[in-house]
């Protein structure tokens, strides 16, 4: 039974965090967007959703590039 519970926990955690850096990056992007939405004018706040999207895309591309470099190193060995 503990094996099933452990699997459930690992699966639930894995649902959200496959790569820690990606998850932390997304949370950081959200934090930056929250700051922008709080501190800036109404006009900026009305478009702040796109800021989050841009930040998330940068995080994703950086993460994928790192993954590609890592795979390349593994293939070279």
């Amino acid at each position: 039974m503990s094996d099933v519970l452990r699997s459930v926990w690992e699966n639930t955690y894995g649902l959200l965090v496959d790569d820690g850096q990606l998850a932390i990056g997304a949370i950081a992007a959200l934090a930056v967007t929250w700051l922008i939405a709080r501190a800036s004018s109404e006009q900026v706040r009305d478009n702040a959703g796109w800021v989050l999207l841009a930040l998330v895309i940068v995080v994703v591309l950086a993460n994928l590039y790192r993954a590609g470099r890592s795979a390349l190193r593994h293939a070279d060995r």
């Binding site: 496959d18 990606l22 998850a23 959200l30 929250w34 478009n47 959703g49 895309i57 593994h74």
Partner: protein, 255 residues
Amino acid sequence: MDLTTLAIAATPSFIASAVEFVEATTIVLAVGLTRGWRAPLVGTFLAGLTLAAIVAVFGVALVTIVPRNVLLGLVGTLLLLFGLRWLRKAVLRFAGIVALHDEDEIYRREVAELRSQGLSRTEWDWIGTVVAYKAVLLEGIEVAFIVIAFGAAGVAAMNAAIAGALAAGVMVVALAAALRHPLTAVPENWMKFGVGVMLSSFGVFWSAEGVGAEWPGDAAAIPLIIAVYLVVSWLAVRMLRGLLPQGARVAARNV
């Protein structure tokens, strides 16, 4: 229930749940065809009860008790993390860095493992029950999460998301029962990619609203967000294919 609610909650819930049901069905089929049907069906039934309890407790509590803004922020953030994980894996698959999902291979491996464990004719087949329970519960947790996430916008959305997931379940189980073989013809890799894009899009939309940011045109921004993710994913696959020469296409573990 209007058509927009159906489209926003039921369609992604249907597609995402179908992928999970296909994966769970492969394992249950492997157990049933190898060790007999009683034990895996009991395991599946028990897992179904567990999942119903999860959705009833968390889903209903979320949409009825938690304030909408807090809910959007919470569910949006979880959806964003969940979606990015799917999207990342899908891009790595299409770039040739991670092996494509192969339901036939998973089925063969599972059957070989189940056969190697032997079968007692006199006792209850606990192995069959536990394997089926675990598979259905683990894949089902993802279905439950998808339903809760897409249904978080309100009771109508929750009903639509549940309807989408149930329709996917009925369709997949009926097809598997008719074919008695894993559903290898289902384009799972493309569906996983589509689900990753949809989850990430809804996740970024709702989480932004949750932290007080807004979108020009409100929900009309969602198709644009989806388009941006599609373009970026395509560019990412090209970037990775350029980065890795043909010979380097390996199923690297630590990516």
